[in-house]
């Protein structure tokens, strides 16, 4: 590529085509930074994404924001046509589903916090299963005695459940308003959870 590209960025339509090609080719969502890194110098990935999203509104596939990343996905109303593509997944146990929900709504969440909410010990298999599904991962250790590990949800989780932001978790506002998300958490833990949501939203 010549040095000229440093100064002559491709025109907006060309940038949109490029983002379209890259997003189409990827099965996993890509962040704006990742897109930017693959575009020629001088391109504005965020602006191109905006135009592309508008272009695909109402089409059979759509550009979706999934957490901090973007992907093209089939329109949900066409799922009935996709029976052949459905991937049969092992049914999740009630313990796994509840553990996942607790991590998603309370993240970062320690094992002790999950156990306190569910009233039973978290079995090792559940955490492993959720990690294997790439729905949860380890967060930063909690800065409390014992420095317990925390769990947070992943980009894969946002992708799987079609969430544009952690704020889009169903019923999050109501749960928070009812004081059900921060009841017995120590003050610092509460702050930590709030921070995570904030920083995730800012990114």
């Amino acid at each position: 590529m010549s040095d000229g590209t440093l100064f002559d960025a491709p025109d907006p339509a060309a940038q949109e085509r490029m983002v379209e090609a890259i997003l189409f080719a990827s099965a996993t969502p890509l962040t704006v930074a990742e897109l930017q890194a693959r575009l020629p110098h001088g391109c504005d990935a965020a602006a191109a994404l905006g135009r592309l999203t508008a272009h695909y509104a109402g089409r059979g596939v759509e550009v979706r924001k999934l957490g901090e990343a973007w992907a093209i996905r089939t329109a949900p109303d066409l799922s009935h046509l996709m029976t052949r593509e459905i991937v049969e997944t092992r049914k999740l146990s009630r313990a796994a589903i509840e553990t996942l929900a607790i991590i998603a709504y309370h993240q970062p969440a320690t094992r002790a916090e999950i156990e306190e909410i569910r009233g039973v010990a978290v079995s090792k298999g559940v955490v492993e299963q959720l990690m294997e599904l790439d729905w949860i991962r380890l967060g930063r250790r909690r800065d409390t005695p014992g420095r317990p590990v925390t769990f947070v949800v992943t980009r894969g989780f946002m992708d799987h459940f079609g969430l544009a932001s952690p704020r889009d978790l169903p019923g999050l506002k109501e749960l928070r308003a009812a004081g059900l998300l921060d009841g017995t958490l120590p003050a610092d833990a509460e702050k930590g959870a709030a921070d995570l949501f904030e920083s995730a939203a800012e990114e």
């Binding site: 080719a25 990827s26 997944t89 998603a104 002790a112 009233g119 010990a121 079609g162 019923g171």
Partner: protein, 261 residues
């Protein structure tokens, strides 16, 4: 973490927990005492915040008694909860003791109600989450994704320090000396050329080549041989470039040169 929740079922050491887990029997599909309590509370059909904890405690203790009668081995967690509920129930029924430290019975009951409400809320949230349009079930990713081909390109780099160290190395390395030709006894062709070039311009007549050997190179045979060879080679080079003419009248006779204008 568990420490701050002292009024709950005690969770002690890992060993205790492991022992407890070994005893766990999934009684009628309940996942632990809190789950069972929630189920029982829901039968009261009131807002969980207005639940009667004394009634709930009674229901729970009845359930545990029933299980005991049926010789169902209950997990330790259930029994710990039963003991704690029996204690809480008795405190709730007695007038509060002003001397008592720590949370009041009402506070403990309220906290239990809160825990039940929170567990129920998390269950609803989990159900709502699972009901979303999910990848691979309701929405689909690209069926034929195209991977990004990775092309590896290696570039080399060096710093000024590397450069200086390298030069210092080439000039000091031990094996350096043996490779340097000892030039004391050698008259190089370059030197011969340098000597010949300025002289031939004014050379209009034939002059014997031997006259062009540098001073002091005539006595030592080795030095003379070197100087003769290089001067001869230099003469050939200059003849090739058209700078001079070369002649030899007979084999092994003297070689003479003349400048060409």
């Amino acid at each position: 973490m568990a420490d701050e929740f002292t009024e709950g079922p005690a969770r002690d050491t890992v060993a205790d927990r492991l022992a407890a887990e070994a005893l766990i029997v999934d009684v009628e599909g309940f996942e632990g005492p809190l789950d069972l309590l929630l189920k029982l509370a829901q039968t009261q059909k009131v807002d969980l915040r207005r639940i009667s904890v004394t009634d709930l405690a009674k229901q729970y203790l009845d359930f545990v008694a029933r299980a005991g009668a049926m010789r169902i081995e209950l997990a330790a967690d259930y029994l710990v909860m039963a003991a704690w509920l029996a204690f809480l129930k008795s405190r709730l029924l007695l007038p509060p003791d002003p001397e008592e430290e720590g949370p009041s019975a009402e506070e403990q009951a309220a906290h239990l109600a809160f825990q039940l409400e929170r567990l129920e809320a998390m269950r609803r949230a989990a159900a709502a989450l699972m009901a979303r349009d999910r990848l691979g079930r309701d929405v689909f990713a690209r069926g034929a994704p195209q991977g990004v081909a990775r092309v590896r390109r290696v570039t080399r780099t060096a710093t000024l320090l590397d450069l200086m160290q390298a030069y210092a190395r080439t000039r000091t390395r031990d094996e350096f000396r043996p490779f340097v030709m000892d030039r004391d006894g050698v008259w190089t062709m370059e030197e011969a050329l340098d000597r010949l070039r300025p002289l031939i311009g004014s050379l209009a007549s034939w002059v014997e080549l031997a006259a062009f050997l540098p001073e002091g190179w005539n006595r030592d045979p080795a030095r003379r041989r070197s100087a003769t060879a290089s001067t001869f080679a230099a003469a050939l080079e200059l003849a090739r470039n058209g700078r001079l003419d070369l002649e030899q009248s007979d084999p092994f006779g003297p070689i003479r040169i003349r400048g060409r204008t």
